[in-house]
């Protein structure tokens, strides 16, 4: 096994032994701590999370339907300057993503210009033909986006994925900060850390700003959840609670006379904006999967008639498809007229014969992902994979090359993390959350996910990843 650690950039110590400026105080503080004290604080935090019910479910795991995502007590820190650059790149990217979707569901100029192949759009399972010509409020399709970033050096960040459907994890960002401020107030007294707590307010403002035009009253906003068995149920109820809006399930909603209504204690009440955390396929059994019991029959028609806003819009997944991802630099340039500030990871698209040949020859060096997969399921990390796994992927890629892409195995940056053996470097990524409505609202930082196994590059919570509080320092 080749150890990616040897080459990795460390957030605290860079590439050498000097402590990087943003970590100066935390480094000093960490030196003075007893490992057992840190462990106790970490355990306290996890007990608090369990008591407050901050849990998630792992699909295919009946024994533990509610689990904690491990929390690490050592924060991940970004300087003001680092964040300014990321923020500019993120804003540019989400503007381009929404402009792209508007175009895709209208004139498809980018296809006509030959910058994105047509079949990649129209044959894409995330493309919703019925969205053609629909005018969403303010022209926004993806109102809540989580952009997964990784860092490989002092100055290099890459976008790994654009999550434009229903990105989750923001509740962990908020609760991690709560826990840290509760347990280690002295750290916040000595560092100027930008607050994240206004995210729920910003989300509500964003949702209200995209209500259908012409309402003569305050818009009624709801959060639509698949229910308590969904892996992100905690987050759904958390956000509804923090925004002060109803958390509804499909069974609580009904379409009457072309309007969406919720069933209240006093009968039916009109709903204007649905922040849905239900996938497109399950949203409306009349329009999508007929066997869905999680959605609302007829809701899509209400939406298309402009009498309701669905956030994110149906069909917004077209922009977070991994085959579209490879075109993102072109997409950003096409719609913003400028080169992308944030780079893509170089990607081999196995549907292209030349790329396929390269991938099959270099499987042991590459990360191979399914085009339509997510959550870290069904991916190959070549350098850490066994011979059998590599052989299996070779067969699968050969059989359906169009379903796979490959990327170089990046040496993701590391950060000191409290593990069994003490404090050790572990690889991490960053998912900032950005809101798009009447304007763009970006919360400083985001969710840092950390791969807790030594050498592992897979940070997904479903694969044993943990989280850290993420700090953006003020100048």
């Amino acid at each position: 096994m080749r150890d990616a650690l040897t080459a990795a950039f460390d957030e605290m110590t860079g590439s050498g032994d000097t402590v990087r400026a943003p970590y100066a105080f935390v480094h000093e503080w960490l030196q003075a701590q007893e490992i057992d004290d840190l462990r106790r604080k970490r355990d306290d935090a996890e007990a608090l999370f369990r008591r407050t019910g901050i849990t998630f479910a792992i699909y295919g795991d009946d024994a533990a339907t509610e689990r904690l995502i491990p929390f690490d007590i050592i924060p991940r820190i970004l300087s003001a300057a680092e964040w300014r650059r990321l923020a500019a790149g993120i804003e540019q990217r989400v503007r381009a993503i929404n402009a792209f979707m508007y175009d895709i569901y209208h004139r498809q100029e980018i296809v006509r210009a030959g910058r994105v192949p047509e079949d990649l759009i129209i044959q894409n399972p995330a493309f919703v033909p019925d969205m053609m010509g629909v005018e969403p409020a303010r022209g926004v399709y993806s109102h809540v986006i989580g952009i997964d970033l990784v860092r490989t050096s002092e100055s290099e960040f890459f976008v790994l994925e654009d999550n434009t459907r229903t990105p989750s994890g923001v509740s962990y960002m908020l609760e991690n900060r709560e826990a840290m401020m509760h347990m280690l107030p002295e750290l916040f007294a000595r560092n100027r850390v930008r607050a994240v707590e206004d995210y729920p307010d910003n989300l509500r403002l964003t949702l209200e700003s995209v209500a259908p035009a012409g309402l003569d009253r305050e818009p009624t906003v709801v959060v639509l959840t698949p229910g308590i068995h969904n892996s992100a149920y905690f987050e759904h109820s958390f956000l509804a609670d923090q925004m002060g809006v109803e958390l509804v399930e499909g069974q609580d909603l009904v379409v009457v006379d072309g309007a969406l209504m919720m069933k209240t204690t006093l009968g039916l009440k009109r709903v204007d904006v649905v922040y849905r955390r239900v996938d497109d396929a399950f949203l409306d059994p009349l329009a999508f999967r007929r066997d869905s019991v999680l959605g609302v029959p007829g809701i899509f028609d209400v939406y298309r008639a402009g009498r309701l806003t669905i956030v994110n819009a149906p069909g917004a997944g077209i922009a977070d498809d991994k085959s579209i991802y490879t075109y993102m630099p072109d997409i950003v340039e096409f719609y913003t007229g400028r080169p992308p500030i944030l780079k893509n990871v170089p990607t081999w698209v196995c549907r292209k014969p030349a790329d396929l040949a390269y991938v099959l020859e270099h499987l042991s060096e590459l990360v191979v992902k399914q085009v339509h997969g997510s959550g870290g399921y069904g991916m190959l990390v070549g350098p850490t994979a066994s011979r059998d796994e590599i052989d299996m992927f070779r067969m699968m890629v050969k059989a359906r090359p169009d379903r796979y892409i490959a990327q170089p195995t990046l040496a993701l940056s590391t950060c000191p993390t409290l593990v069994e053996q003490g404090i050790a470097e572990r690889h991490l990524d960053l998912r900032p959350f950005v809101l798009i409505g009447d304007r763009i609202r970006l919360t400083p930082g985001g969710l840092t996910r950390v791969a807790l196994r030594q050498g592992s590059l897979v940070v997904n919570s479903s694969q044993g990843g943990g989280t850290k509080d993420t700090w953006v320092l003020q100048d």
Partner: protein, 333 residues
């Protein structure tokens, strides 16, 4: 736009909103099930205490039979076990997931409802219930010796008290509060009435069936199961007398688990819910009528016309009110 805007009390007008029917249903049943968990512990505590007393008449079976009957689960118990044994009854009422009214099932249901309605609960409420559930579901019944039972009964009552305390201290006084109140007090009224109904014959004056020492143990047991065996003496300044015990648990407005007290909570909860929503409805008149029966009731007359009939009628009225509330506030449609 709402049907009854003209009835609305202006003092509610800031932040007025209405909840999902499903939310109302879940809150109502959450509080019912927490009250039920507590009542099961109380019933069992008393049954267990009597089971420890020396008996010569083989009355043990009847004792457990009436405990299970009061808990509304005798039939399902017998279907499962066939005969009475202390250990089986304890297991069935405390831990059996097949018994929907066991403490285990009650806490599980309450917690499931709470989880589905996290947004309607304060953090204190949720945490008290969630940590109770985490602790309780971690108990291994097989390792519990009989010495562990009395502390466990106390623990269950404490947990229920903690939840109610969190609720009373932190919840907004709006529909959320009232639906919880209704769940608690409809369940409590039902429970007190069932305890009395199961034991009504020991309360009958001049009963030929029983007499002497056992009787006073039974009366004490009834009072004990509603934590009233000491306060009784403060109120009546007398030893346990059947009609006074009945009076205390049915008509007395000081006794917090009496039928009258329960309705003294139910009626204002429904009235204020109506004021909050700006409507007036059938539940309110039904609740007022039920309270009227208790307010104007007279123990002598009740004994004359039949205590058993009175209690049966009360239980039916109480149930009818429950379904009326569920229908009026669209719990399930």
């Amino acid at each position: 736009m709402d049907p009854g805007d003209k009835h609305r009390d202006d003092s509610w007008s800031i932040g007025l909103r209405r909840m999902l029917g499903r939310t109302a249903n879940d809150l109502f049943w959450m509080s019912r099930y927490i009250e039920r968990a507590e009542n099961m512990a109380r019933l069992l505590e008393v049954g267990y205490r009597i089971a420890l007393l020396p008996r010569e008449d083989g009355g043990q079976d009847e004792q457990w039979g009436s405990t299970l009957r009061s808990g509304g689960c005798e039939r399902s118990y017998l279907a499962k076990y066939g005969s009475y044994a202390t250990r089986d009854v304890v297991n069935f009422m405390l831990f059996d997931a097949d018994n929907p009214s066991s403490v285990h099932s009650s806490l599980a249901t309450a917690r499931r409802n709470a989880r589905a309605q996290r947004t309607a609960l304060t953090r204190e409420m949720w945490e008290s219930l969630n940590s109770a559930w985490i602790e309780y579901s971690g108990i291994d019944p097989a390792t519990l010796g009989s010495n562990a039972l009395p502390p466990l009964f106390d623990w269950i009552k404490e947990r229920s008290a903690l939840f109610r305390g969190a609720l009373l201290n932190t919840i907004l006084r709006n529909d959320t509060f009232y639906f919880n109140q209704l769940g608690t007090f409809l369940e409590r009224a039902d429970n007190t009435a069932r305890i009395l109904d199961v034991k009504y014959y020991v309360l009958l004056p001049h009963s030929e069936l029983v007499g002497g020492e056992i009787d006073s143990v039974q009366w004490a047991a009834i009072l004990r199961s509603v934590s009233a065996h000491r306060s009784y003496r403060w109120v009546y300044k007398d030893s346990y007398k059947p009609w006074k015990v009945a009076d205390y648990l049915i008509l007395n407005r000081q006794m917090p688990r009496s039928l009258r007290s329960c309705y003294d909570e139910i009626v204002p909860a429904l009235d204020e819910l109506g004021a909050y929503y700006g409507n007036r409805n059938g539940c309110q008149s039904l609740a007022h009528a039920n309270r009227q029966v208790l307010a104007e009731g007279d123990m002598n007359a009740i004994f004359q016309s039949g205590l058993h009939e009175f209690l049966g009628d009360f239980i039916a009225r109480n149930n009818r009110l429950g379904s009326e509330i569920s229908g009026t506030y669209h719990f399930t449609d």
